[in-house]
């Protein structure tokens, strides 16, 4: 079971639009893989749950350096530490992306949860085996890369 373009394209479009409009960055999707979890995480993983006609999640996965670059561009000043404000900013970024993707997905109708931010070294993202997962890798013009992980279990109507 794999996620098709009707699910993944809205996440790609919402990510690019959020970064271009609010972060002054132009990420390009360079690779999409349909991986079987567990997926090795980078340093920061911002996750939002999806519910409604399907259940799932989306997660922004980036290194500390790339995350600080994102947040600095987002708030318009250099950010060098992972404090409460930095975590709030990361949560806002994934919230905007998930909101944009939700609006772009015609079916299934989805609701989004509050964001959760995980910060650490060498952790993995695991989900139940019947959840289809795709990882979209983005590359920025600065050379920085990050990924968006989308997981979804489509329910029978």
């Amino acid at each position: 079971m794999t996620l098709d373009a009707s699910i993944l394209d809205p996440f790609i479009n919402a990510t690019v639009e959020c970064f271009e409009t609010m972060l002054d960055m132009s990420p390009k999707p360079v690779d999409t893989s349909h991986q079987i979890p567990p997926i090795e995480s980078k340093d920061i993983c911002a996750i939002i749950g999806l519910s409604g006609e399907a259940q799932g999640f989306c997660a922004l996965n980036a290194s500390e350096a790339v995350t600080l670059e994102m947040v600095s561009n987002f708030v318009g000043e250099e950010v060098t530490t992972f404090d409460e404000d930095t975590m709030d900013a990361i949560g806002e970024i994934i919230n905007i992306i998930a909101g944009g993707a939700k609006a772009g997905i015609k079916s299934p109708a989805l609701s989004i949860s509050l964001p959760s931010i995980m910060h650490g070294k060498k952790f993995v993202v695991s989900v139940p085996l019947d959840v289809a997962v795709a990882t979209i890798v983005f590359q920025c013009e600065s050379g920085a890369s990050f990924s968006m992980i989308v997981g979804m279990k489509l329910e029978k109507k």
């Binding site: 639009e17 409009t21 318009g76 609006a103 609701s111």
Partner: protein, 123 residues
């Protein structure tokens, strides 16, 4: 010009505040939810030219806060711009019917905020 920014996210308040300052707004007051907004409104004698109001907030949300602002003689004439995400866009219609002057959907550009403020304050 004096503006009140109401948003539970410190990040969004910071981004909007910077944008307003660049657009020439002289005085900016921040509130983190509807309760705080009504308190700040009272403390400032309802002396605001515009309110930027997030829809999705804990305790008292933007829709309820808008109703409160539009129900009080001292505040009902202050233009309110609703801020929302694509996920809550359907609530915008309710807000416009409830007296909101305009709305901004995240992600938004800095130019768009300045343009919206200029439009509603200039009315």
């Amino acid at each position: 010009m004096k503006a009140l920014i109401v948003d539970d996210s410190s990040t969004m308040r910071k981004i909007i505040k910077k944008t307003l300052m660049q657009a020439g707004v002289a005085t900016i007051v921040e509130a983190e939810d509807g309760i705080d907004a009504m308190q700040k409104m009272k403390e400032n004698g309802a002396d605001f030219d515009v309110v930027l109001l997030d829809i999705n907030m804990p305790r008292v949300d933007g829709v309820t806060t808008l109703k409160q602002l539009k129900a009080i003689d001292e505040t009902k004439g202050i233009p309110v711009i609703m801020c929302t995400s694509e996920a809550e866009k359907e609530k915008v219609v309710e807000c416009i019917r409830g007296g909101a002057s305009d709305y901004i959907v995240k992600p938004f550009s800095k130019d768009l905020i300045a343009e919206k403020i200029s439009k509603v304050v200039g009315k």
